[in-house]
Symmetry: D3
Subunit: 184 residues, 6 copies
Amino acid sequence: MVTALDLAPGALGPEMTAYFAKCGDKLGFVPNVLKAYAFDDAKLAAFVAMYNDLMLAPSGLSKLEREMIAVVVSSVNRCYYCLTAHGAAVRALSGDPVLGELMVMNWRAARLSARERAMLAFSEKLTREPGAVEEEDRARLREAGFSPRDVWDIAAVAGFFNMSNRIASATDMRPNSVYHAQAR
Amino acid sequence: MVTALDLAPGALGPEMTAYFAKCGDKLGFVPNVLKAYAFDDAKLAAFVAMYNDLMLAPSGLSKLEREMIAVVVSSVNRCYYCLTAHGAAVRALSGDPVLGELMVMNWRAARLSARERAMLAFSEKLTREPGAVEEEDRARLREAGFSPRDVWDIAAVAGFFNMSNRIASATDMRPNSVYHAQAR
Amino acid sequence: MVTALDLAPGALGPEMTAYFAKCGDKLGFVPNVLKAYAFDDAKLAAFVAMYNDLMLAPSGLSKLEREMIAVVVSSVNRCYYCLTAHGAAVRALSGDPVLGELMVMNWRAARLSARERAMLAFSEKLTREPGAVEEEDRARLREAGFSPRDVWDIAAVAGFFNMSNRIASATDMRPNSVYHAQAR
Amino acid sequence: MVTALDLAPGALGPEMTAYFAKCGDKLGFVPNVLKAYAFDDAKLAAFVAMYNDLMLAPSGLSKLEREMIAVVVSSVNRCYYCLTAHGAAVRALSGDPVLGELMVMNWRAARLSARERAMLAFSEKLTREPGAVEEEDRARLREAGFSPRDVWDIAAVAGFFNMSNRIASATDMRPNSVYHAQAR
Amino acid sequence: MVTALDLAPGALGPEMTAYFAKCGDKLGFVPNVLKAYAFDDAKLAAFVAMYNDLMLAPSGLSKLEREMIAVVVSSVNRCYYCLTAHGAAVRALSGDPVLGELMVMNWRAARLSARERAMLAFSEKLTREPGAVEEEDRARLREAGFSPRDVWDIAAVAGFFNMSNRIASATDMRPNSVYHAQAR
Amino acid sequence: MVTALDLAPGALGPEMTAYFAKCGDKLGFVPNVLKAYAFDDAKLAAFVAMYNDLMLAPSGLSKLEREMIAVVVSSVNRCYYCLTAHGAAVRALSGDPVLGELMVMNWRAARLSARERAMLAFSEKLTREPGAVEEEDRARLREAGFSPRDVWDIAAVAGFFNMSNRIASATDMRPNSVYHAQAR
């Protein structure tokens, strides 16, 4: 059972069918978040389009940086699914298992660059107190070298995981067990 | 200026170009959130696809209920953009300007059905403390008559505004001024 | 019904009787907060004396500034009654309906002078964490041009709405419906 | 110095002059909160009228109960002035010095009647989260034997100290040193 | 009854028997926290060893400073037992009854040296948000003149009371009544 | 470097010297928390005595249960050292690597017995809001089958990690790297 809601899978169109097959080929499994959305082809397609654009498309943020934001946001929100799946991604992309643990446990305990600290401090504040973000918060990102477009990307990744953390928590989504041992 | 980032508009493909034209025809204006995403056609398309599916596609939740969730989440997060745009939507869809104000100010002060209270209490908890949501929270939704699929839709709408609230706050997104006087 | 307590009106003395008549003449209605206090002439008189002194007597703060503090405090406390009545006052006194909305939704999103920001930041902190206010908070007000007497007036207005917000919330006080459409 | 603002005393009218004299006669001193307001006769008179009505006029709440609410609210808000002055009042009125300490430190550790617990739990919630007070909170007071008028009085006393705590904290008001040793 | 658990006293070994006798001789009573641990000689001995080392052994912090930390931590945690016992210790060691009250009520309202403020600000942050303590917090202690070993001692005392506050609150531990009147 | 304070190791007495040797024999390393205390033999001995009694002595709580409390408390407090060391202990004692991850990430997402849920809910509340723990919280433990002595042990373990989390965070204590890969 992928979520506590246990919604019956719907008929997937050719694009999503192909995408599931591609996941099987490349990863060896279909991530449970995709199975959770599979009750409705349009919802699944919208989620996949947004996720892949955010996490994989060209950006001033590296893929590792985007995954670090994902894990820090998920740590504030205590999302078991996302911490498991994206903690594994930080371990894999960085080749540093301890970095993945630090993002899960407390990013402030990690040895990070000034750029990384600014990025994660902004992401944490945006998660905890979005209404308190002000120009001086954006200014700190600029001082750390981020362009306006980079600020958008930080906000968009942090925002996205604030969404998916809540869908996962609301539905008791369970991560594929394969993540736990990856890249340790 | 639509956001503090002031990103230059990108070249939109035919689908998004047509969508902007359609907004102009139907609403008389293009919502600023769409202009904010217009620096990148793929990001805009992904946002539009997810938004329209969530807020307009068939669901056990009425469109008004979805807008009520949007405003309550945005009130917790104190998002000026979303409170303005979706507060207007609640006023318009309900024909009850005071209901829009109540969702902005404090939904607990509104006279609501048991179904609506359960839906908004869940959305508020999911926004404030997603990691504390448990089976008993889902059970309260079921007792109020919501199906598993309805629970998904509540979570997905609440989750989405937890994303867009943060993108709007991070970028100081400004709502179109036309919303303020709508449906008063 | 003005509050959930539905206390029977008491006999008003000549001063309060005249005051209610004056409200009818000037406003066209008696604000429900006054009707809520009308079960006891002495309590009503004390409330009216303090309110009128605070909000209308000479002060280094303009009447609009005092109303802005009222709305920002009421926004932190999510007081439906006071947000409605004093949100209308901000719209009316400023001639700027959007300013009223911003005070209700998130004052940090408003374009304000340094003086206004200092005043509202102090009022918000005093509302959220009164025990953490220290000399450096008062110093910031002085740097923004406020005199010691102005600091008193900011504290007194912010304090007053921390009182009346709680009486309104405790009793489920309902605002006169006329406020909603005023000065839009 | 009574407050950090150190406002020069104003000319008091005959009523307030007499009241200060009466304080001197009955208490042996003028409470510093009154001296703090003495820069303006009208503000002082309004404060005295409201305070004396709330704390001394006939009510379904005993004077001790009103003082217990005052201290519990002041404990949540960490108001040094009010904890000192009203902690002394609880000790004096109850003849139980330990009860005063418990109200200052943590009312939940005190051995209280069900009526007292309901009254203080409501006052604490109203102080911490006024916007979350709902009908079920009022119902708990009714079940503990409080009338609608009693609910008003609880709300009015709790509200009043939420005001005066903030004025005292904002101005660094210092309590008369005599309170500390009273009724130990 | 010393705690709500009311555990039967166990057989004490010679060291703890002698220690209880010494308490009786020096203090005139055995502190209830020791009686609470007396159900198990090993647990009592471990507690006594750690407590006496922390609070009485040589340190760059004076005994009064250690007691001030104890009371400030206990105030954040609202621990009736520790506020009572260690509030008395601050009064006794300082010869200043008002200082004891200030540590209980709100240390920010006290007139303190820069060294004391730095020490108590660190202790409060460490109590409220231990995971947010960073190098800049330690730097502020160094700037206030504390050595690395002093930082350890501040952390160890603050940490210890975060432990004992919780054991006292979990078990409803009652302070010896003698503390209340001490050193007033 | 074991902590940011980098205190020079002191001369250890025979008992602690033997204990370090025993750690080397049994674990293959000396846990960094012990090295952190090694600047002072008396402090180290007191810590070791209390720790070993709490975590290893006979108790109605199993060793795994005690480690589960340790990790849940450390998760609330976001203590990198303790999450790493005791997360490994949960994995090792349970033979269930995923259980260790769940305790670190969000214990509410784990499939637990009613006994375990009651124990962890109490530990979490005691960590977050010790002053709000009341008789009804103890009653829930009793209903879940815990004896008064068991309640003490839960409180003592939860209390202990509230201490050691803060000492670790205050000093930036680094866990031995060997823990990360243990029992995956």
